[in-house]
């Protein structure tokens, strides 16, 4: 699917925990199909460089992003109101490969890292998907409403402060759910633990990587991440070769 520059209008913007926003936008023209793990390169107010944000949900005329207010660019974006018009290049990057023959699919997400995972379950209703989702606290969970419960066979919530679900990290529960294939997006520590787990148990894993980006389309080579290719460490483009890579190849 070739990327396009989509003209979007914010239709609804909600915040449940004071820092992570659920931004729904609409498009007059039909949006392309967007695979799980692909991202949009969003123009934010007052900045020249775009901000990469993964696509949480999308259909022909609506698209939803989960955006954490972490700096000037995201702050300027999430403080806009319904009716705000912006453009985004989408869909970009390679999403998560879906392995139809695997039985026990596990999504492992932390905070905003949960966002790129939901389409794996949403777009593949025949898969048996369990989600292990970690949040700072119960309020942060609210960003996702009960979306994961609707599309996954089983959802295990974890909070850092114990205010809901398992008190601890979602990686604590990996052994309990024993995945055949694991899809990961989250902080460094989560990726590292997941990588060790997959190596030890011979589990296939994929993770979505973050890197500072320029063009977002593969042309400027600023977004490199270190990936093992045929036993050699290479610098690949997070935007065009990723952002999803086989977990075992990622140099952490």
């Amino acid at each position: 699917m070739k990327p396009v520059v989509a003209q979007l209008t914010i239709s609804k913007i909600e915040c449940f925990d004071g820092s992570v926003y659920r931004v729904e936008a609409s498009s007059d023209t039909a949006l392309p199909n967007i695979a799980a793990g692909q991202f949009a390169h969003i123009k934010v107010p007052g900045k020249s460089l775009r901000r990469p944000i993964c696509v949480y949900k999308s259909d022909e005329h609506t698209i939803t992003f989960i955006v954490a207010d972490v700096g000037e660019g995201t702050h300027a974006f999430v403080t806009q109101k319904a009716g705000y018009k912006f453009d985004a290049i989408l869909p970009l990057g390679n999403g998560f490969p879906i392995l139809q023959d695997k039985k026990n699919i596990v999504l492992l997400g932390g905070g905003t890292g949960c966002a790129p995972l939901i389409k794996i379950a949403g777009q593949n209703p025949s898969l048996h998907v369990t989600a292990l989702l970690g949040f700072r606290n119960a309020a942060a969970m609210g960003t996702y409403k009960n979306d994961f419960d609707r599309v996954c066979k089983r959802v295990l919530y974890c909070t850092d402060d114990g205010s809901y679900g398992h008190h601890g990290f979602p990686t604590d529960l990996l052994a309990e759910v024993s995945p055949d294939v694991l899809y990961v997006c989250g902080a460094y520590g989560m990726m590292k633990t997941a990588q060790d787990y997959c190596k030890k148990h011979g589990v296939t894993g994929y993770a979505s990587m973050e890197q500072r980006m320029g063009c977002g389309v593969g042309a400027c080579l600023v977004c490199s991440v270190n990936i093992m290719v045929d036993g050699e460490q290479k610098l690949l483009r997070a935007c065009a070769d990723g952002p999803v890579f086989p977990l075992e190849d990622i140099v952490l």
Partner: protein, 302 residues
């Protein structure tokens, strides 16, 4: 209206060219529009052997611009000739190969290799600030410029553009040195050596500590330098640095640029180069400029 431009005998449909390192080998942007509509496209800086470039972080946003420290990541000139050049040629735009090296022998060899292909022009990058020996050693003083350009000129069978760095005392002296050594044209400016600091972590933002500044932030510096070089040399000048609109392009032409390159604007906006071409065309139409070349050097200075 006539948008044609001729540089060193090479005819361009129009004076808009994409700048090295910001446009890959043209494939990505061809997904957004027909890049063959542009006057020319320039390759990423090519070296004899493939290069991985610097460790990330390689980019930082700065007011009205950005820093990069890619470090000449490229697949090597042989791969380019086999796998990228045919695509670039197929677009129909003039194809410029940007060549970089770390020693004289490398420069000579790479220019020899490119001379035996169907690239239309070679742009000699003696001005990359992001590699320890990125040619900057040759690009800083007029003697260095003259030396390397002479060596390359000897073997170069294509029109030769010499790309100058702004990180020097007097760029017009380097422009003159390039001309004296046989350059067919000069292009300027490459990025301005710069850095960004994260106060919270007390660290430089770029892993390489310093990088190159580009985008609208450098435009005033670039205009001044094009103006100075135009007064110093009589070979054609390709101007660049922060061009994001048709008016920006026209300003460079008034200062003496026969054509312009668009770099960072592509990174901000995938349709930038084609938009700039359309804006420049509209600007000429609106102002009854029947030949875009009449802008070149048209600056009124009393």
């Amino acid at each position: 209206m006539n948008m044609k431009t001729t540089i060193a005998g090479v005819q361009f449909k129009n004076p808009i060219i994409t700048a090295s390192g910001t446009f890959g080998f043209g494939r990505e942007y061809n997904n957004f529009y027909d890049v063959g509509l542009l006057g020319g496209i320039c390759s990423k800086g090519l070296t004899l052997e493939p290069r991985q470039g610097n460790q990330p972080v390689r980019i930082a946003e700065t007011p009205s611009g950005m820093l990069n420290s890619v470090g000449l990541q490229n697949p090597g000139v042989e791969y380019f000739i086999q796998n990228e050049l045919p695509f670039m040629k197929s677009t129909g735009a003039v194809v410029i190969a940007n060549a970089a090296g770390s020693c004289e022998a490398d420069y000579v060899r790479i220019v020899q290799m490119l001379s035996d292909t169907d690239v239309d022009m070679i742009e000699l990058n003696i001005s990359c600030p992001n590699v320890k020996k990125g040619g900057m050693a040759f690009g800083v003083d007029p003697e260095g410029v003259e030396h390397i350009v002479k060596a390359v000129r000897h073997v170069c069978k294509k029109p030769l553009i010499v790309k100058l760095t702004p990180n020097v005392a007097d760029i017009s002296k380097n422009a003159l040195a390039a001309q004296n050594a046989g350059a067919d044209a000069i292009s300027l400016i490459n990025t301005v050596a710069a850095m960004a600091v994260d106060y919270k972590t007390r660290r430089p933002v770029l892993n390489a500590v310093t990088g190159g500044l580009s985008g609208p932030a450098v435009k005033p510096v670039a205009l001044r330098m094009v103006y100075q070089c135009y007064k110093a040399v009589n070979i054609p000048i390709i101007g660049m640095g922060g061009i994001v609109s048709g008016t920006d392009a026209a300003e460079f032409m008034l200062c003496g640029a026969a054509a312009v390159q668009v770099g960072t604007a592509n990174i901000f906006e995938p349709l930038a180069a084609i938009n700039i071409l359309n804006e420049l065309t509209n600007l000429c139409e609106h102002d009854n400029i029947t030949n875009v070349q009449s802008l070149v050097g048209g600056l009124r200075v009393d």
